[in-house]
């Protein structure tokens, strides 16, 4: 396998990893599978489109503002919609996220039309192709996504392990009833999980937008990244990372050696294989299966 292929795998894995972290956060804390995640990522990208046209001379402000909006978006979605499903059957909550995704797709086109946007261009950034090592060319945005993904994972790890709110989130995920009995406000924890999830999704969306533009079909990447989360185990952060690597490697290998058309289906083939052999994923906790 050439070095270029390896680089491609790493970049694709970073994309999948950054997107699937959002699935894991919400699932781990509240057992809800957020199938609107792809659409939320897309809206995050559109946020950048909006802020970049407002602050075209100041890319840092544009990006920071868009990321902040991404964070707020998750909290709003929880506060307005998802919190009514807390305590209800998980399947109903998942169905609502599907409906939310559809609503968001429609709204996105209504607000921004089907036109393709290039916020990178608006901000004056041309996304050069960089030669890291002889024989390996990747875009600057690809480098950015690898760095951002690493930073996000590190940040989340520190947050969950060492901060009070992070430990609360882990506790609520393990035993929401006991968490309530110990004074933890579940609504607050869930809202935070949603906020962090959409924040990371928006980051992913923005970088992808800077790399190749935004268009309403971007949301499908969200669904393709989902198998990565499942393969690793829906409630494991490290699992999402490993899962992303596996799915990305399988996909690139399939495109390269078998048939380029397979690109969209390979993640789901991996998903089906994992479901057949080890449904709770590589690092997931087994009880999840029976609890559903």
């Amino acid at each position: 396998m050439s070095l270029q292929l390896v680089a491609n795998v790493i970049v694709l894995a970073a994309i999948y990893a950054l997107v699937s972290v959002g699935y894991v956060l919400i699932y781990r804390v509240s057992r809800v599978l957020n199938l609107a995640h792809g659409e939320l990522m897309m809206i995050g990208a559109y946020f950048l489109v909006a802020t970049s046209s407002l602050f075209s001379g100041n890319p840092i402000v544009a990006i920071a503002l868009a990321a902040l909006c991404g964070l707020a978006m998750g909290i709003v979605v929880y506060a307005v919609l998802m919190r009514w499903m807390t305590g209800e059957a998980v399947l109903a909550a998942v169905l609502i996220t599907i409906a939310l995704g559809i609503l968001l797709r429609g709204l996105a086109v209504l607000v921004w039309t089907t036109q393709q946007f290039y916020p990178g261009a608006t901000l004056g950034w041309h996304n050069p192709s960089v030669r890291i090592v002889p024989g390996v060319q990747i875009s600057a945005a690809s480098i950015a996504i690898v760095i951002v993904t690493a930073a996000v994972y590190l940040g989340l790890f520190v947050f969950l392990q060492f901060t009070r709110w992070g430990i609360r989130m882990r506790a609520a995920g393990q035993n929401p009833l006991l968490a309530e009995q110990r004074g933890i406000r579940l609504h607050g924890v869930y809202a935070l999980a949603w906020g962090l999830s959409t924040f990371t999704a928006s980051l992913a969306g923005m970088i992808l937008a800077l790399d190749s533009g935004v268009e309403s079909t971007m949301a499908t990447i969200g669904l393709k990244a989902f198998p990565a989360a499942l393969v690793g185990g829906l409630d494991s952060l490290i699992g999402a990372l490993i899962g992303a690597l596996i799915v990305a490697a399988a996909e690139i290998a399939a495109i390269q050696y078998v048939n380029p058309l397979l690109s969209d289906v390979v993640p789901f083939l991996v998903l089906l294989v994992v479901l057949a052999i080890r449904p709770w994923g590589l690092f997931g906790s087994r009880e999840q299966l029976d609890r559903v």
Partner: protein, 272 residues
């Protein structure tokens, strides 16, 4: 420490009825009181309604579709039946459940960090934390141990400790002794009595093991099939023959009988 004066009960339950799924009646009208700064024991076998009572008080009654269908529960004078568990925890009613009493994948230290009381400021919280380690010095060495790997006794200590950090006014303990060696149980009950004294709180202790509970309680109630069949000062209860036979396992060779059967037998025999 509490809003109630020395003569108002901390917790007053009157004629409480609880039903599961709107059909299966679990509590047929029980009445009990917890006076401030006392320990009250609620005894009885499995299915007597003890856990249901605790659930009704703590507000975690929605599990298994149960509801308070009659009577009232008053905490420091306020009615609290069918309110959200969150409201009750905010009032200072803290429950140590029978199972799943700690977070197994969190360390001891994390279990304690996670406990929150919205009524305690930072200084009070630090005090409470210090108190926990004073009551349960064994926990100090176990700080970094995963709670799931603790022994039964250690886990119970952690559970009580994290409950204390929630700054309880009324502590509800479900089956303190279950699965523990007698030595550990004795140790725990002594510490529990110490906690009551130090914090000046009320404690409602639900127990199958009457000896354990009556050793530290001030007052006791015996539940059977969702009804209170006996109550009295702990000292009196300890002496009652029925208790000895039914719940302290001191009946000689006879089959264990329900309290009711024994009472009937007693009243039919004039000279006891």
């Amino acid at each position: 420490m509490t809003a109630a004066s020395a003569n108002t009960p901390l917790l007053a339950i009157e004629a409480l009825e609880v039903a599961y799924h709107r059909t299966a009646v679990a509590l047929h009208g029980i009445s009990l009181k917890v006076m401030p700064q006392t320990i009250v024991a609620v005894l009885g076998n499995n299915g007597a309604g003890k856990t249901t009572t605790l659930r009704a008080i703590s507000g975690f009654i929605g599990i298994d579709d149960a509801r308070v269908t009659g009577g009232r529960i008053a905490f420091a004078g306020e009615r609290i039946e069918n309110q959200s568990p969150h409201a009750n925890t905010a009032r200072g009613i803290v429950l140590v459940p029978e199972r799943d009493k700690v977070f197994p994948n969190l360390t001891v230290a994390e279990n304690l960090i996670v406990a929150t009381s919205h009524r305690a400021n930072a200084a009070e919280r630090r005090q409470l934390e210090a108190l926990v380690f004073a009551f349960f010095p064994a926990l100090t060495a176990l700080r970094q141990r995963l709670a799931g790997l603790l022994s039964g006794g250690e886990r119970q200590m952690l559970a009580l400790g994290s409950a204390i950090i929630c700054k309880p006014e009324l502590l509800l303990v479900d089956e303190l002794s279950l699965g523990l060696a007698p030595v550990a149980v004795e140790d725990l009950t002594r510490r529990l009595a110490g906690i009551r004294k130090e914090l000046g709180i009320g404690i409602l202790l639900v127990e199958q093991n009457a000896a354990v509970a009556l050793a530290i309680a001030d007052y006791g109630y015996v539940l059977e099939n969702g009804r209170v069949v006996l109550e009295g000062a702990a000292a009196d209860l300890r002496g009652r023959r029925e208790i000895q036979q039914s719940y302290l396992g001191q009946a000689s060779g006879e089959e264990r009988r329900s309290y009711r059967a024994l009472r009937r037998q007693e009243t039919e025999r004039p000279n006891g």
